[in-house]
Assembly symmetry: C2
Homo-oligomer: 236 residues x 2
Amino acid sequence: MNKNTAKVKDKLSQEKRTKQLKKGKGYETRKKILKAARKIFAKHPYHVASIRMVGKEGGFDHPLISYYFPSKEKLFEAVVVEMVEEFDAFEKTLYEGLDDYSLKKGLPIFINRIIDFHYENPELMRTVMQNTAHVEKLEDLPGFELFIDFLIHFMHTMQKTLPIKFSLDEVSRLVYSFSALIINYLGASSSYATILRMEPDSPEYRNWVQETMVLLFFPRLLSIILPDHQAAQQEP
Amino acid sequence: MNKNTAKVKDKLSQEKRTKQLKKGKGYETRKKILKAARKIFAKHPYHVASIRMVGKEGGFDHPLISYYFPSKEKLFEAVVVEMVEEFDAFEKTLYEGLDDYSLKKGLPIFINRIIDFHYENPELMRTVMQNTAHVEKLEDLPGFELFIDFLIHFMHTMQKTLPIKFSLDEVSRLVYSFSALIINYLGASSSYATILRMEPDSPEYRNWVQETMVLLFFPRLLSIILPDHQAAQQEP
DNA sequence: CATTTTTTTTCACACCCGTTAAAAAACAAA
DNA sequence: TTTGTTTTTTAACGGGTGTGAAAAAAAATG
C-alpha cells in the first residue's frame, strides 16, 4: 500500500519531468540525454541502438535515462518528435522567395536549402534511413507513425507549393520520388558516397547530390508546370 | 596435444563441408540453413538478426549452424554471395531483345523485368535496404564490400548497355539514381507502400512503381540518347 | 546547521546474444 | 550386430540488453 502510493507519486512526478519544462537542473539533463540519444539513434537501427550506448555517448550512467524517460521506446519517440519539430520550423523558411525565381533557378536553390539543413541537422534523415526497411510487423518500430507523418507532411507541403497546372497524379509521383531520393542521398550518404568514391561530408558529394537532383527532376517538373510541348524551349 | 590435433582436423572437415558440395545429407542441411538465414537477414538489419532466429525459422537448433558455418559473419557473407549470384544469372536475361524496342516501349519492359525478379527473389534488395544506412565504421558490416560490388556491377552493366551517344557524366547520375530508387521502392516496399496506403505485394503497388520509374526516367533518358531538342517530339 | 527533496549512481534481475564442448542420435561400414 | 563416423542436440560460457530497486550524492528547504 505504502509502496504503491509511492510508485504512483513517482510516475506523476516523472510525467511532470517530461512535460513541465524549465525546472532547473532536471531540464538540463533531459536535454543532455536527448542530445546523446539522437546521435545514437542516427547511427544505429532502433533495435541495435541501446540505452547503454546513449549513456556512454553522453557521459552518464544509463539508468539515469529511466529517471527521465519511462522506456527506450518513449525516449526514441521523444527524439523523433524533437527532430521533426526542428524540421517543421525549417520548412517554414524553405519556400521563402522561391516565387521570384524561374524553375531553372529556383529548383537548385530549393534543393540546396534542404542539403544545408541536413548538414546542420543530420540526425533526422539518418534516423529515417536507419529504420525504413522494415518488413512485416511495422508496429514493432515505436515511432513509425511519426516518420510516416513526417514524410506525408513534407510531401504534401511540397505538392501544395509547386505551381502546378494540372495532372495531379504525376505530381504526386514526382514529389514522392524526389523526397525518397534526397532522403536517401543525405540520410545514407556514407553508403552512397562510398560507391562514388567520395567523402560523405565533402563539398564534392554535396555538389553531386544537388546536381543529380536537378538533372533528374528539372525536365519533368518543367513539363508539368508548363503546358505540353513548349517545355523543351521555355525558361531561359 | 591430442585435443589440438582434433581441433585442426575439425576445422579442415568444416571447410570441406562448406566448399565440397553434394556430399549426401550435409549438403541438404546446409541449403536448409541458408534458406532460413536469407529470410531472417531480409527481415532484420545484420546486428538485429540472430543465429537463434535463423534456427527458429528453419526448425533446427541454432548451434547446428556452427557446424556448417564458422561464424554469423561467414553465414551472412554466404547468404549475400548466393543472392548476388542469383541476380547475376538473372542479369544475363535482363537486356535480352531490348534493342528491338524504342525507348518508350523498352524502358517499361526493362523495369518490369526487374520488378518481376524482385517478387520472385525478394531477399536481395530487402537485405541491401536493411543495411544501407551505416554511419561511420562501414567495416563493421561483414559483407559490405559485397553489396558495394553488386551495386557497382549492376550500374556499370546498365550504363554500358544503354545506347548512349554522349554526356557520360549525366548518364552515370541517371543510372545511379535509377538503381537507388528502384532498390528502395522494391527493397523497402513495406515502408513506401504504407505511405501510399497500398499493400506492398499488391499489383497496385507494383504498377505504381513501374509507372513512377517510367515517368521519372523516360524524358531524361530520351534527351540523352537522342541529340538535343528533338527530344520532346521524337519516338512515336 | 539539520532535514527533506531531488537527482544520480550502484547493484541486481531476467532475458537474449554468438560460440564452444560434450553428449546424444543418426547413419555407414564392417 | 558391432564398430566407427557423421550429424544433431543439449548444456554452458561470458557478455550485452532494458528495467527496476536501493544506496548514495547533490540540492533545496526549514
